[in-house]
């Protein structure tokens, strides 16, 4: 074979390869398939409302305040009697069955008249004899919770909103009772918002999961550490064998795990 023929053979082969490549590249779509839709979080859940609605908020909202008219049922000038059971727990009368008493260590702050005024049920009283309106309760709370009250006054405890720069606008402050139920002040557990979703579904073959090491590792540690809820941990353990459903958090979010609907009903994530 002469040099000339060799060159032309190589050139022809190269040309053929190029044509083939060109055909493949032109026909194959280079755009990634559209990503799997993630459930959107309902923006209505992301408004800065407080955990509960206090009396002051009801006043501002011009709501019906007839529930707070004590003397619609009680008799004026006649302090109601309190009843306690043998364990010194207060017996909440059925008219007030919506009240859950859980204030203080071992629920020991259970005497209504530690805070309410027995002579005038419409107001609150501090131990040093000051009378406070229902909507002005913070000094009453502060009479026991001094350091917290001090922090609250400085803005370090509790929620704030509006303007940090007081020269430009109002600073929104919240009262103790906007977040804490005065009869049972502990903040209740709530549903978390959904965790981050991963961009791509995790490949099922274990050797490929290195690329998703961050997610994979931490999720496995989640499987190892979540012990509080037996049903969920069982599912996590099951997921451990099959990587793919483990990372698709939405699958088990709100569907497999029982959730309380108290603060954020799970179904609302799937807007």
């Amino acid at each position: 074979m002469s040099n000339d023929t060799k060159t032309s053979t190589v050139l022809m082969a190269l040309a053929g390869t190029f044509v083939l490549l060109a055909l493949v590249l032109a026909t194959r779509s280079t755009v990634l398939p559209p990503p799997k839709p993630f459930p959107l979080v309902d923006p209505a859940l992301l408004v800065p409302t407080t955990m509960r609605t206090s009396y002051l908020q009801l006043i501002h909202a011009k709501a019906d305040l007839s529930d707070f008219d004590c003397y619609a049922c009680h008799e004026k000038g006649k302090p109601p009697t309190l009843r306690f059971d043998t364990n010194h727990n207060i017996v909440v009368p059925k008219e007030h069955s919506d009240i859950v008493m859980g204030h203080g260590r071992h629920n020991r702050n259970n005497n209504c008249f530690n805070c309410h005024d027995e002579q005038n049920l419409q107001v609150l009283q501090t131990r040093d004899g000051r009378e406070l309106k229902l909507e002005e309760s913070p000094p009453l709370c502060g009479s026991c919770h001094g350091p917290t009250y001090r922090d609250w006054e400085a803005g370090a405890h509790g929620r704030t909103g509006g303007y940090w720069d007081r020269t430009r606008g109002e600073l929104t402050r919240r009262l103790c009772v906007d977040c804490h139920n005065p009869h049972s002040p502990k903040i209740l557990p709530r549903n978390p918002f959904p965790p981050p979703h991963l961009l791509h579904p995790v490949p099922s073959s274990p050797e490929l999961t290195g690329a998703h090491n961050r997610g994979g590792r931490t999720l496995l540690s989640a499987a190892a550490t979540t012990k509080s809820e037996p049903r969920c941990s069982l599912e996590l353990a099951a997921d451990r064998n099959v990587r793919a459903p483990l990372l698709s958090v939405t699958n088990r979010h709100g569907q497999n795990c029982p959730r309380s609907t108290e603060a954020f009903p799970a179904s609302t994530y799937h807007a």
Partner: protein, 315 residues
């Protein structure tokens, strides 16, 4: 014999044989086809920067008139894309203000409301998800981040035995990300916020690699924001929609904080664990906290980045 073949294979006068012409043209045609095919991905480039954006000057060199034109261009682009006329501003740092964030680890319940409020406020991509805040769950008794978990998803938070530590841009006094940027597309402003000019970023992701807090996020694809979820209150260095191929990160909500308001994550925190303010003002909440509280850590203090984000505990 050679003399007899010659006239049949060569066209008169040109000296190019039929065979070599065909061969050369086949090679040339396939070469051109291959070139065209290699450029084929450009067909899908739909948000190609406009000439105006391409020729835009560096942020710090823009005159007020230039900036007004740029803001108008951004408003038009956003309106074209989302069908909603936004209000884009270029907010400058205020004098005598240095922002500091304080987060109460005793209070945080790990509900991730801040994460999603931030996404909503800052027009982050919903799919793929870009989130500035990552809430870490840590077992009690350790600050070892190797034991942290961010995909926790129990029924109820807080879970017994754990505490939660939200991590976002720490707005360092000595930011590693700024040092590595080859084009000065990110810098620290006088109020302490490290900002990014999305029109200047080349997407090299050096800053992402340099950040010890994993606070920077890269737009690998075109961000997707549902039209009805767009926040129209925007700032040039803040929450205006980003392009594909640029970095973004928490900027303490410059569109709110430089207007005197609190950041979005703070406002929605249901337990009031987040505190923000001007540390140079002795009456601010953050100054009170840094003075009186047990400010436990600046995250990864030993790196010398000196964050403006403080974690503290109540007694």
């Amino acid at each position: 014999m050679p003399d007899a073949r010659k006239p049949s294979s060569t066209s008169a006068g040109t000296g190019v044989s039929r065979r070599s012409f065909l061969r050369t043209s086949a090679v040339a045609a396939s070469g051109l086809a291959a070139l065209a095919a290699s450029l084929a991905p450009l067909r899908h480039l739909n948000d190609f920067p406009s000439t105006e954006q391409f020729l835009q000057k560096y942020y710090k060199e823009l005159t007020p008139a230039d900036m007004a034109r740029v803001l108008k261009r951004i408003e038009e682009e956003v309106e074209h894309q989302y069908g909603l006329r936004p209000h884009v501003r270029d907010l400058k740092p205020m004098d005598g203000v240095e922002f500091v964030y304080a987060l109460n680890l005793t209070r945080c319940i790990g509900c991730r409301k801040c994460v999603h409020a931030c996404v909503k406020e800052n027009n982050q991509s919903r799919n793929p998800e870009i989130q500035y805040i990552r809430v870490l769950r840590l077992p009690h008794g350790t600050m070892d981040l190797e034991k942290a978990e961010h995909n926790y998803n129990p029924d109820q938070v807080p879970e017994p035995g754990y505490f939660y530590m939200p991590v976002q841009c720490q707005q360092c006094k000595n930011p590693a990300c700024v040092k590595v940027c080859p084009v000065h597309a990110t810098w620290q402003e006088t109020d302490g916020i490290t900002v990014i000019d999305y029109d200047w970023c080349i997407g090299c992701r050096y800053c992402e690699a340099a950040c010890p807090y994993w606070a920077r996020r890269f737009n690998f694809t075109k961000p997707s924001i549902p039209k009805d979820r767009l926040n129209p209150e925007m700032a040039y260095l803040g929450n205006r929609p980003r392009r594909q191929g640029v970095m973004e990160k928490c900027h303490f909500c410059v569109q709110r904080t430089r207007d005197g308001r609190y950041p979005a994550c703070l406002e929605v925190c249901p337990v009031g664990a987040r505190k923000f303010g001007n540390v140079l003002d002795p009456n601010s909440e953050v100054a009170y906290i840094l003075r009186t509280k047990r400010v436990f850590i600046q995250l990864k203090e030993e790196l010398g980045t000196s964050p403006r984000f403080f974690y503290y505990f109540d007694v």
